[in-house]
C-alpha cells in the first residue's frame, strides 16, 4: 500500500511539468479568449466590458455564417474525402508488395511538406492563365473546360478542398496501414480456410477490426478541418470576395486587420464550442466514447 502511494506520488510529480506547460500554453489562452470575448478592445487602448454584445454582432454578421458554411465544406471534404480515399489506398497497400515502402513514402510526402509550399504549388497549378491544369486541358483540346479555378467564386472552394484532401490523405493512410498491420494473421488465415472471399474478408473482418482507428481518424479530421487556416490564407486570402473564407480566417481578419480583438475572441470562442459540438455528435453517432 505504502509502495503504491509512493509510486503515485512519483507519477504525479512526473506529470507535473507536462501539466504546467499544458496549463500555461493551452488552458490559460482559452480562458483568456473567453475573457476578451466580452470586451471591446482594439488591442491598444483600455478594454471596456460589453457583455454579450460581441456575440450578438457575430451572429448578425452574414460574413460569419458564410465562413461557417465554407468551414462545413472543408469538414465534409475531409471526412468524406480524406478518410475513404486513405482507407482504400491502405487496403490496397496492405499486401506483401514489392516496393511497399516507396508507395508509403510517396503517400506520406504531402504531410511533411510545408503548407505554404503546398499552397503556392497548387496556386500555380490552378492558375487560370498558365496553370498546369488549364494548360493540360487546352493541349488536349478541351479549351472550354479551362476555368478560373481559384478566381471564380463558385469554384474556388472546391479547388481549395481538393488541395486539403491531397495534403492529408497520406497522414490517414499511414494511420490505417499501421492499424491494418495489427490485424492478426491467424484471423485472416482462418477466414481464408472458411472460404471467405477477399471482399467479405475486407468488409466483415478487416474493417470492423480497425473500426476504432477509423473513428479516431474521423475525429482528427474534424478537429483539423475546423482549424484550417494557413493553406487557404496563402492560396486565396479567403477570396475572391469571401468565397473561401473559413471561420479561423474570418476570426483572423476581424482581429488583426480590423483591430477588433474582443470581436475576434468571440469568434474564437464560437469556433471552440462548434468543435466540441461536432466531436460530441460524432461520438454520439458512433455510439462510443472515443475522445
Amino acid at each position: 500500500m505504502h509502495a503504491v502511494g509512493r509510486r503515485r506520488g512519483a507519477i504525479i510529480l512526473g506529470l507535473l511539468p507536462a501539466l504546467l506547460i499544458y496549463v500555461i500554453f493551452a488552458i490559460l489562452p482559452i480562458l483568456q479568449s473567453f475573457y476578451y470575448s466580452v470586451m471591446e478592445w482594439d488591442g491598444f487602448s483600455d478594454m471596456t466590458y460589453v457583455g454579450l454584445a460581441n456575440f450578438k454582432e457575430v451572429f448578425a454578421d452574414p460574413l460569419f455564417w458564410n465562413s461557417v458554411k465554407n468551414n462545413i465544406y472543408v469538414v465534409l471534404a475531409s471526412v468524406f474525402g480524406q478518410v475513404p480515399i486513405a482507407l482504400f489506398i491502405a487496403l490496397l497497400l496492405n499486401r506483401k508488395l514489392k516496393g511497399l515502402k516507396i508507395f508509403r513514402t510517396i503517400g506520406f510526402l504531402p504531410v511533411v511538406l510545408s503548407t505554404v509550399v503546398i499552397s503556392l504549388t497548387w496556386s500555380l497549378i490552378y492558375n487560370s492563365e498558365d496553370g498546369l491544369i488549364n494548360e493540360l486541358l487546352r493541349s488536349v483540346g478541351l479549351e472550354s473546360w479551362a476555368l478560373n479555378w481559384l478566381g471564380d467564386t463558385n469554384l474556388a472552394m472546391i479547388a481549395v478542398c481538393i488541395t486539403v484532401i491531397w495534403q492529408f490523405v497520406g497522414l490517414y493512410l499511414i494511420i490505417f496501414l499501421a492499424a491494418l498491420q495489427n490485424v492478426p494473421e491467424e484471423v485472416l488465415e482462418a477466414a481464408k480456410m472458411d472460404g471467405a472471399s477477399e471482399w467479405t474478408t475486407t468488409w466483415k473482418i478487416i474493417v470492423p477490426m480497425i473500426w476504432d482507428t477509423i473513428i479516431v481518424a474521423v475525429i482528427l479530421c474534424i478537429a483539423g478541418s475546423l482549424k484550417t487556416f494557413d493553406l487557404i490564407y496563402v492560396m486565396t486570402h479567403g477570396g475572391p470576395s469571401h468565397s473561401t473564407e473559413v471561420m479561423a480566417l474570418y476570426m483572423f481578419n476581424e482581429t488583426f486587420s480590423q483591430l477588433q480583438y474582443g470581436y475576434g475572441s468571440a469568434v474564437s470562442v464560437l469556433i471552440f464550442f462548434f468543435s466540441l459540438l461536432l466531436i460530441y455528435l460524432v461520438n454520439k453517432i458512433f455510439g462510443k466514447k472515443m475522445i
Partner: protein
C-alpha cells in the same frame, strides 16, 4: 528519482519565467552599448532597402556606444505582426510605420513616442505639408523618408505604339480605345494582381475617385458632412466595373499578387501595369530595356469634379519609437533618427529611384521614368484611401472592389455598405 523530478520542475519554471519576460532582457545584455532593435520590411532586394540598410550600417560604424539591430519582416506580414506585438505590449524599440489611419491606433494607444523635441532638425528641409502625414493630434511621431505615389501607369512604349497610339492616352475615353485595340491584338491590356485585395483600392480608386469627387470628398464623407453614396464616388467605382467588363485585366487577377502581376508586365506579357512609385525601381531593374518603359499619370475623366493634375500619394518610410524607451535609449534613438533622415540618405534614395520629401539635386544619370514620376508629385497629392479610412472601411472597400470585378456587387451596393459603416462608427 525525486531529484530528477525536482530538477524537471525547476527547468520548467525557469523556462516559463523566461517566456513571460521576453523582450525586456534585450537591452540589458550589453554592458555600456545601447542596443536598439529596429523592425522593418526591408526584405526585398531593392536599392531603396539597400540604402536604408547602408545608413544603419554606417550609423553603427560611427557610434561605438549605440548598436542598431535590424529585424526584417516581409511586407505583407509586417503590419499584422506589429499589431499583434503591440497588443501584447511587446513592441521593439524602433519600428517602421505607415502614416495617417495606420499610425493613428498606435499613437492613440500611447505605443509611440513623440518626436516633437527633435522636430526642428528638419525645419526648412521637409515641407510641413508632408511632415503632417506622420502627425496625430498635432504631435509628430515619425519623419517621412519618402513620398509614395500610389497611382502611376507603367507601359511598354512599343506595345502602345503598335496599338496605334503615338502618345499615351490623356483621357479615359482614349484609354478605353487603347484597351480595346490591345484586346483585339491579343495582348493583355493591364496586368493586375489583386489577390491581396488592396491594389484596386490603393492604386486605382485613390486617384480615380479623386478625379471624380475632388479631394474634399473623403474627409467630408468621414466626418458626416458628405456621404459615400455620392454620385461621383459611385461613378469612380463604375470605372472599375467597366474595366473588368471590357476585359482590361488578365484573367487570373484575383489569384495572383501584385509582385506576380508586375513580373508579368516586366516580361512583356501585358502592355500596362498600374502601380505606385514603389514599382519604379523593380520595373527599371528587371525589364530588358528601361528606355522602352514609359510612365504616365492616370487619365482625366469627363465630368469629374477633381483636379486632374493630382495624383494619390502619401509620405512613407517613417520610423516610430517605442514609448517605453528609457531616457538613455531615447537619446540614442533620437540621434539615430537625425542621422538616418539626413541629406545623405535622401540623396541615396533618389539614386535608387525613390521620390523623397526633401529637395535634393538630381544628376543627369537619373532615369527618365523617375524624373517624370517625380514631376507628377508637383501637381499636388490626393489622399490615399487606405491611409485615410478606418481598418473596417478599408476592408469593406477592398473586398467590395474585388466583388465588383466578379460581378457580385454593384458600385451602388458598395457605396451603401460603406455609408452604413461610417454611420456606425460615428
Amino acid at each position: 528519482m525525486k531529484k530528477v523530478s525536482i530538477l524537471l520542475v525547476g527547468i520548467i519554471a525557469i523556462l516559463s519565467l523566461a517566456a513571460c519576460s521576453g523582450g525586456e532582457g534585450e537591452t540589458a545584455s550589453g554592458s555600456d552599448v545601447i542596443e536598439l532593435t529596429l523592425w522593418n520590411d526591408w526584405t526585398e532586394d531593392r536599392p531603396e532597402n539597400t540604402a536604408y540598410k547602408n545608413m544603419v550600417e554606417k550609423f553603427n560604424e560611427q557610434h561605438d556606444d549605440i548598436e542598431v539591430v535590424i529585424e526584417a519582416i516581409p511586407h505583407d506580414q509586417y503590419e499584422t505582426k506589429l499589431r499583434t506585438q503591440a497588443a501584447g505590449n511587446q513592441l521593439p524599440d524602433m519600428f517602421r510605420v505607415w502614416p495617417g489611419a495606420r499610425l493613428a491606433p498606435l499613437a492613440e494607444g500611447g505605443a509611440t513616442l513623440s518626436l516633437d523635441p527633435i522636430k526642428d532638425n528638419w525645419e526648412g528641409v521637409i515641407p510641413e505639408g508632408i511632415m503632417k502625414d506622420y502627425q496625430f493630434d498635432g504631435v509628430q511621431y515619425a519623419i517621412p523618408g519618402n513620398i509614395s505615389e500610389t497611382s502611376l501607369i507603367f507601359y511598354h512604349k512599343d506595345m502602345v505604339k503598335d496599338a496605334g497610339f503615338e502618345e499615351f492616352p490623356k483621357t479615359y475615353e482614349e484609354l478605353k480605345s487603347l484597351i480595346t485595340a490591345l484586346n483585339e491584338a491579343g495582348t493583355t491590356p493591364i496586368s493586375l494582381g489583386n489577390k491581396a485585395i488592396w491594389p484596386l483600392q490603393s492604386v486605382y480608386i485613390s486617384t480615380i475617385a479623386d478625379r471624380f469627387t475632388g479631394s474634399d470628398f473623403l474627409p467630408n464623407a468621414l466626418s458626416g458632412e458628405g456621404s459615400f453614396e455620392n454620385e461621383q464616388f459611385i461613378n469612380s467605382m463604375k470605372v472599375i466595373e467597366e474595366l473588368a467588363n471590357m476585359k482590361a485585366f488578365n484573367g487570373d487577377m484575383n489569384t495572383i499578387d501584385e509582385a506576380q502581376a508586375r513580373s508579368e508586365f516586366n516580361a512583356g506579357n501585358a502592355a500596362m501595369h498600374f502601380a505606385g512609385s514603389w514599382a519604379i525601381g523593380p520595373v527599371l531593374d528587371t525589364v530588358e530595356n528601361p528606355d522602352k518603359i514609359g510612365v504616365a499619370p492616370f487619365p482625366s475623366f469627363a465630368g469629374g469634379d477633381g483636379d486632374p493634375a493630382k495624383i494619390a500619394g502619401v509620405a512613407g518610410g517613417g520610423i516610430a519609437l517605442n514609448s517605453d524607451l528609457s531616457e538613455e535609449e531615447q537619446e540614442a534613438a533620437f540621434e539615430f533618427l537625425k542621422f538616418f533622415y539626413s541629406d545623405e540618405m535622401y540623396q541615396q534614395l533618389v539614386e535608387a529611384n525613390i521620390i523623397v520629401p526633401a529637395d535634393v539635386e538630381m544628376g543627369d544619370d537619373i532615369p527618365q521614368v523617375f524624373q517624370e514620376a517625380n514631376k507628377l508629385a508637383q501637381g499636388g497629392l490626393a489622399p490615399v484611401y487606405d491611409a485615410t479610412l478606418s481598418p473596417e472601411l478599408t476592408d469593406i472597400i477592398n473586398n467590395g472592389l474585388q466583388a465588383i470585378t466578379l460581378g457580385e456587387k454593384t458600385p451602388e451596393e458598395l457605396a451603401k455598405e460603406m455609408q452604413e459603416q461610417v454611420e456606425k462608427e460615428q
